[in-house]
């Protein structure tokens, strides 16, 4: 059972993606419930895996019975189990929601039961793709899962209709370019080494001579993944997607999707390709781009009047933050990056669900239109405040501790890059204070504008404003988790994997031979020296 | 001018003050006490002089030197309804 869990982690949502539309087509009902059960099941598997890998031993599954380095191996260690748990958990919040993206609620009409079940299947497909990226140990398989997740994401975004279709198409252009670049890069590595296995590759690379082909491969992989991770200045696809996609999709995608690509970057550049000179150089470049992204994202977030667009730019800033930490690559920095991944996913998911609910259901998309929100939707106002505190990095919520760890990590990194990253993180926190407190001020300290929806709505009684129940649950639960992540920061931090991850011993096959080879050829991960 | 109609009050304060100060100075002269500090403490009636002169210096610094430099008319756009809070 234990050994088959990684396989189930990917297989269950993949099978569900076919099953749910089938049920929708055959029975016209029960599709949503089936999808929910499947999401819960995937979450349970991820949780079990996360609990099982806490002892430090990874759990591997050889697909088709072919062990690595020849076959495709799925393996969950502390790092991937954390990402899988986060992804599956966030999907559970999105799953009960209306995925059709009829922004005006009931007024826009309902999708057919089959159409609805189709979209629920696509969400499971997206989940399968993301979990596959997290679990796989094979470079080409990673590409396949990346494409699966991307195609599913385009579909879910385009379901928003109107401008969302255009946003999805533009995302498709950028995502295709990203996938192609990544695949080219993998091709170079395969040509050099003859292997696609992430554990075998360093061994073969140690034997191969460094040269332009290797450098090209590494560079193309990094650029491809950077586009998917929305690293400045390759972030162009992101704002429109986050603004126009349906609420449920935005909340899920904004919380985890770019982060999964950042995870792939960390895996490949920090572990598999560690010690490759070009990889170290690329990480140095990523660090500076991350600094740029943090500042540009924060500055442009201030310039926005639309809440969702402001949050989108804030996400670009956050991805810059995460990539800074990934590029610094010390034990503390990776802990900080993971803490930030978790804290930001919770807070941004909460904020996007709330923003989507208000913009989609009630037409409140501009910051000004949120004036007086606290008097009509106090629960939402509290949740948004908690999320905003976390995004700014104010105590006592989760974001404060990730900011603390990030600053400590960049300070310890030293050098010009470390100092610049440190300063940029401080600046981004101040910028976040500016644009988020503008929202909070409107929410709490102003009365609704005359004649606006909020002003007209009664405060009590059956006619009062209400959000859909699953959204209320998602927003409330995520805010509570954000708060808990801060109050129990020590417990969360203890459960984050320590970087560099321990070498897998006898995980699937005779991989133990890698130990000596890595020590000779590839250096030790986590001992990067910043220039 | 109505604004300073109460100048009898000022005169009263002056006269009371003068008597009070005279008594004080007499007492200070009788119960002399060592006072460490700057050379200016040697000046007779220094505290009185300093109270008057210091206030004059501050008044001149504020009203004569800084006032013309820093005072601007109230912004015409200010929505304070003629100064109402």
């Amino acid at each position: 059972m234990r050994e088959s869990l990684p396989g189930l982690l990917v297989a269950v949502p993949l099978a569900g993606a076919a099953l749910v539309p089938l049920i929708g087509a055959l029975f016209r009902r029960g599709a949503r419930e089936t999808a929910l059960v499947l999401h819960a099941g995937v979450f349970a598997i991820a949780l079990a895996l996360f609990a099982l890998v806490q002892d430090g031993a990874p759990i591997a599954y050889a697909m088709g019975g072919w062990p690595g380095p020849w076959g495709i191996e799925l393996r969950l260690d502390g790092l991937s189990a954390l990402m899988a748990l986060l992804t599956a958990g966030m999907a559970c919040f999105a799953a009960p929601l209306d995925l059709s993206g009829r922004r005006s609620g009931a007024a826009g009409g309902r999708t057919s039961p089959f159409g609805d079940s189709l979209l629920r299947g696509v969400l499971l497909l997206l989940l399968a793709g993301l979990l596959g990226i997290v679990a796989t140990r094979d470079l080409f398989n990673l590409f396949v899962f990346m494409e699966i997740s991307s195609l599913a994401a385009y579909t879910l975004i385009a379901a928003g209709g109107g401008k969302a279709t255009i946003a999805a198409f533009r995302y498709l252009l950028a995502g295709t370019a990203a996938g192609s670049l990544y695949l080219f890069g993998v091709g170079f590595l395969y040509a050099l080494t003859g292997t696609l296995n992430m554990d075998d590759l360093p061994v073969q690379l140690a034997a191969a001579a460094p040269g332009a082909a290797l450098a090209t491969g590494v560079t193309l992989i990094a650029i491809g993944l950077s586009i998917k991770a929305a690293l400045f200045p390759l972030h162009g696809w992101l704002p429109d997607v986050y603004v126009f996609a349906p609420t449920a999709t935005t909340g899920f995608i904004a919380a985890v999707m770019a982060k999964v690509s950042a995870y792939a970057l960390l895996r490949l550049l920090g572990e598999t390709l560690f010690g490759v000179e070009a990889g170290a150089f690329v990480l140095d470049v990523l660090l500076w781009l991350g600094i740029g992204g943090v500042l540009v994202g924060g500055a442009l977030a201030i310039a926005q009047t639309d809440v969702a667009r402001m949050l989108a730019w804030s996400s670009i800033s956050a991805m810059g933050t995460i990539l800074i930490a990934v590029a610094v690559g010390s034990e503390l920095a990776v802990t900080a990056a993971l803490f930030h991944v978790v804290a930001h996913a919770l807070a941004k998911g909460c904020f996007f669900f709330a923003a989507g609910a208000l913009a989609g259901g009630l037409g409140l998309s501009r910051v000004q239109s949120w004036a007086g929100l606290a008097s009509r939707l106090p629960g939402t106002a509290v949740a948004v405040t908690v999320a905003a505190f976390s995004l700014i990095g104010l105590p006592p919520v989760a974001g404060f501790f990730s900011k603390y760890l990030l600053l400590a990590a960049t300070w310890n990194a030293g050098g010009a890059a470390g100092a610049a990253a440190f300063a940029a993180l401080i600046a981004s926190s101040l910028l976040a204070a500016v644009y988020l407190f503008r929202v909070l001020e409107a929410v709490w300290f102003r009365s609704p504008a005359q004649g606006s929806l909020l002003a007209e709505a009664p405060r009590t009684g059956p006619e009062r404003l209400r959000l859909p129940r699953p959204l209320v649950f998602a927003v409330g639960a995520l805010a509570a988790l954000t708060l808990a992540g801060g109050l129990f920061a020590a417990a969360v931090e203890r459960r984050l994997p320590r970087w560099p991850l321990p070498e897998p011993v006898g995980a699937a096959s005779d991989l133990s031979r890698l130990d000596s080879a890595r020590q000779e050829g590839a250096g030790t991960p986590g001992r990067r020296v910043l220039r | 001018m109505n604004r300073h109609a109460s100048s009898w009050w000022i005169r009263g304060v002056f006269v009371t003050g003068l008597i009070f100060v005279a008594l004080l100075e007499a007492a200070a002269f009788l119960i002399a006490h060592e006072h460490h500090g700057g050379f200016w403490n040697a000046i007779p009636m220094w505290d009185l002089v300093f109270g008057f002169g210091g206030a004059a210096v501050l008044y001149l610094a504020a009203k004569r030197a800084l006032g013309p430099l820093l005072s601007r008319p109230e912004a015409p756009m200010r929505r304070s309804r003629g100064g109402r809070a």
């Binding site: 162009g236 105590p395 | 109505n2 004080l24 504020a62 929505r79 003629g82």
Partner: protein, 572 residues
């Protein structure tokens, strides 16, 4: 010292924060109930003598000391609790639910800051104080209060960031987690000092105070006057005792505040400048660093909170009763609000250092400490500031607001909670003034000081009388003008905004050029590809790929990055 949550029972700040949250979050309960309960509980534990204990908890690998009840913390806790109670009484009818919640959380955070034993807890509540006070300003409810609150928030966000970085560097450098005097003059020292200087309103970092305090509601500004700057004084006492740089800064503060107060027309802004001035005394005292000076700084903070709250209550009562906030609109109302006038005058003579009132017994500690430390010029300049204080708060403000020519301003009757709060505050100012040992015995430093010597009384009275003479000589010239005074905040309120919008305009001007460059590149690539595909010179077609801006940029950057990286890697 085992991890313990027991401290919550003893923590007055915890009661106030919990009461504030309760009042704010649960609309069906009148805030007054939770105000009474939380303040009552806090007061009980203050009166019961706070245990001199450390309560600790381990959070995120930090050994946190939530509660450290030593003499210095307890001194500030006592006075913070007292003034929180006074403020709640004062705002009883006027404060809305949200405002009361913000005020209680603000007070609770201030208490928790001074009771914090470690840097992390200290920082957490320091930030909480900034946020709660911003809310309090915003709840003033006017357009000005909205804008001033935003400026205030930005100022404190920067200060908080400096503090955060300073603490981080302090801890990263192996510094102890306990909040204690910092030694050495590395980056942590200066960062934390700057952050505390922001909250202590040391010029030129003071403008947030005089900008924002007058824009809160009348009850809100009573709270504001008490906590932020005095928490900073506590921090200075705790962290920087004897830091010599504070002496000149403090002297500049005292005189700066006084001079601007002489020019000021807005009642509460005038009092705000006097916060700057009075905190200057405390800053000087901390800088002098002798036990007498440190004790003086602590004692003066204690006195200052009481009489400044009283003065702000008086100013607030004036504004509530008349509807005017500028001296040039007021005058001659004392007959219609005799008790309020009398209580304001108690505050005014206290701040001016009249014998028998509490300003006298604490201010003279600092001035005498300067004399004993053989710093005669410091003593002289502090005395000069005392003269200016009497001139503006003791004479100018009451003369033009309460006395002077009667302008026939209508006076509303005020609810009785306002005179009650002012009466209690006035009584305390007087009580500590005649029984100074009540204050002295609470001080963390043993001092042997007798304020009521003949010398001291005689010189103080002469000073005040001399100032009085001058005032009545130049009273006509001191008539406040209907003008505003530029302070350093106009450096960023005017020109900086212009610079930002100019920069924005310039950037927008650049955009078309950048678009053109990108189009040129994309078209060029497109044409080149076509030409290569055709294998011969083809006419350049218009760009087939009509990218929308951002996607074009993304692919452009990806291509450019790939090219640049490859070139660099090839060279390497």
């Amino acid at each position: 010292m085992t991890p313990s949550w027991e401290f919550l029972i003893y923590h007055p700040g915890a009661y106030l924060i919990a009461g504030g949250l309760w009042a704010g979050l649960f609309p069906s309960y009148a805030w007054a109930t939770s105000g009474v309960f939380s303040f009552g509980a806090a007061a009980v534990f203050v009166l019961r003598r706070l245990p001199n204990l450390d309560f600790t908890a381990s959070v995120a690998d930090f050994h946190l000391i939530w509660y450290r009840g030593d003499a210095l913390s307890v001194l500030f806790t006592v006075v913070f609790t007292v003034v929180a109670g006074l403020g709640l009484i004062y705002g009883w009818y006027r404060m809305r639910r949200g405002e009361a919640a913000a005020a209680m959380i603000y007070a609770g955070c201030a208490i928790a800051t001074v009771l914090a034993g470690d840097w992390v807890t200290f920082f957490v509540f320091w930030e909480g104080m900034a946020i709660a006070s911003t809310a309090l300003i915003w709840l003033g409810g006017t357009e000005q209060s909205r804008r001033a609150g935003m400026r205030y928030l930005l100022f404190h966000a920067v200060g908080g960031a400096l503090l955060f970085v300073g603490i981080l560097l302090h801890l990263a450098g192996g510094g102890p987690i306990e909040v204690a005097a910092l030694t050495g003059t590395g980056p942590p020292f200066w960062l934390i000092l700057t952050a505390v200087a922001v909250n202590a309103a040391i010029p030129p970092l003071h403008a947030w105070l005089t900008d924002a305090y007058p824009e809160a509601s009348t009850a809100g500004s009573v709270f504001l006057s008490a906590f932020t700057t005095k928490t900073a004084v506590y921090a200075l006492l705790r962290i920087f005792p004897g830091a010599e740089v504070l002496v000149p800064l403090g002297i500049v503060m005292t005189l700066y505040g006084v001079v601007f107060a002489i020019l000021e027309n807005d009642v509460r802004r005038l009092l705000g400048y006097h916060i700057v001035s009075q905190v200057g005394y405390m800053v000087t005292g901390v800088g002098l660093g002798t036990p007498l000076a440190l004790a003086g700084a602590a004692a003066h903070a204690y006195s200052h909170i009481l009489y400044k709250a009283l003065l702000f209550m008086g100013a607030g009562a004036l504004i509530e009763a008349t509807g005017f906030r500028r001296l040039s609109d007021l005058g001659g109302v004392w007959r219609r609000m005799r008790f309020m006038t009398a209580m304001y005058l108690v505050g005014a003579v206290s701040i001016s250092g009249w014998p028998l009132f509490n300003g006298f017994v604490s201010k003279s500690l600092i001035v005498s400490a300067a004399a004993e430390a053989h710093a005669p010029w410091t003593e002289l300049l502090l005395t000069l500031a005392a003269v200016g204080t009497f001139l503006s708060v003791g004479l100018k403000l009451p003369w033009f607001a309460f006395f002077g020519a009667d302008r026939g301003v209508a006076v509303r009757k005020l609810p009785s909670n306002i005179p009650i709060a002012m009466g209690i505050a006035g009584f305390l100012c007087f009580a500590y003034g005649v029984l100074p040992f009540m204050l002295y015995r609470m001080l963390p430093w043993e001092i042997d000081y007798r304020p009521f010597t003949f010398d001291h009384l005689s010189s103080s009275l002469q000073l005040l009388v001399g100032t009085g003479f001058l005032f009545f000589l130049v009273v006509r010239k001191l008539t406040p003008a209907e003008k505003r005074t530029l302070d350093v905040d106009w450096l960023w309120r005017g020109p900086l905004r212009g610079a930002v919008s100019d920069a924005g305009r310039a950037l927008r001007g650049l955009a078309p050029a950048a678009q053109e460059a990108r189009r040129w590149v994309v078209t060029g690539i497109d044409a080149g590809l076509r030409r290569a595909a055709a294998g011969r010179a083809a006419p350049v077609a218009p760009a087939a790929l009509n990218f929308r801006d951002s996607i074009g940029w993304t692919i452009f950057f990806a291509a450019a990055a790939a090219a640049i990286l490859l070139v660099i890697l090839d060279r390497a």
